[in-house]
Symmetry: C2
DNA sequence: TCCATACCTCGACATACGTCTAGCTAATGG
DNA sequence: CCATTAGCTAGACGTATGTCGAGGTATGGA
């Protein structure tokens, strides 16, 4: 990674032609790759499944940290990665922040990668 | 990544319950994450789309290198990552190696991530 | 007001990773 | 047999990343 990857806005919905539909542009490849990067970590996969299991109400940092046996700082880092990639929705409620999965965003990412999509 | 991720066999087909179906085990999270890691790079996304576009016959290292403006060594590295993750099928033919996309493997990965799968 | 709780941010550390050059092996063609 | 071509491997380089401890900020309750 000699040329450092640019930091781009990912919170919007991913919308680009499926990877199997033809050769993707550099920009689209970057968008897809950055979102995948956000997901390409075992802790974040578990995190996502925990958040999905919690339903639309979401889960708090501290509960996830307890479940994953990690510090709240580390969990905050991972939640930030997923949120910046547009995969989580965060809602403050008093002193707590509840994180819920953005199923539409995850679905969009999956669709772009689906080899049987077209 | 202080605890280095273990190196595990990924060439077989991914087979684990969807992430949305419940909390995934540590082992399953690792399997999914490692395969996603193999895909989470803009060059490899373009690579995959080029290989998919080439059809079942596949493409050669050198042609991909020319298309991507990278050295053959770098392309070889990326092809290795994707192959080890089970996403590419390599077949030698004389002095050349043809790489084709393993659509089933990619489909399996996509299915595991699909939030609407269950 | 004061303390506890939940969360975030910052800095540091070790490790992983993308890219290149150089050099090797193996197949092809004269 | 030699030259060329395709591909891989090894090593080096700079950068990115996961984790933690420490400390800050805001909310809520006694």
């Amino acid at each position: 990674m000699p040329k450092s990857l640019p930091t781009i806005e990912l919170s919007g919905a991913l919308c680009c032609p499926p990877v199997a539909a033809g050769v993707v542009s550099d920009d689209d490849a970057l968008e897809v790759a950055l979102r995948l990067k956000a997901l390409a970590d075992p802790v974040r996969i578990k995190l996502l499944s925990l958040v999905l299991a919690a339903g639309p109400q979401g889960t708090r940092n501290i509960d996830l940290a307890r479940e994953l046996q990690l510090t709240d700082a580390t969990v905050s880092h991972h939640l930030g990665q997923l949120s910046r990639a547009g995969l989580l929705l965060a809602t403050r409620q008093g002193a707590s922040t509840f994180y819920a999965a953005d199923r539409l965003a995850l679905g969009a990412l999956v669709t772009v990668l689906d080899p049987n999509c077209c």
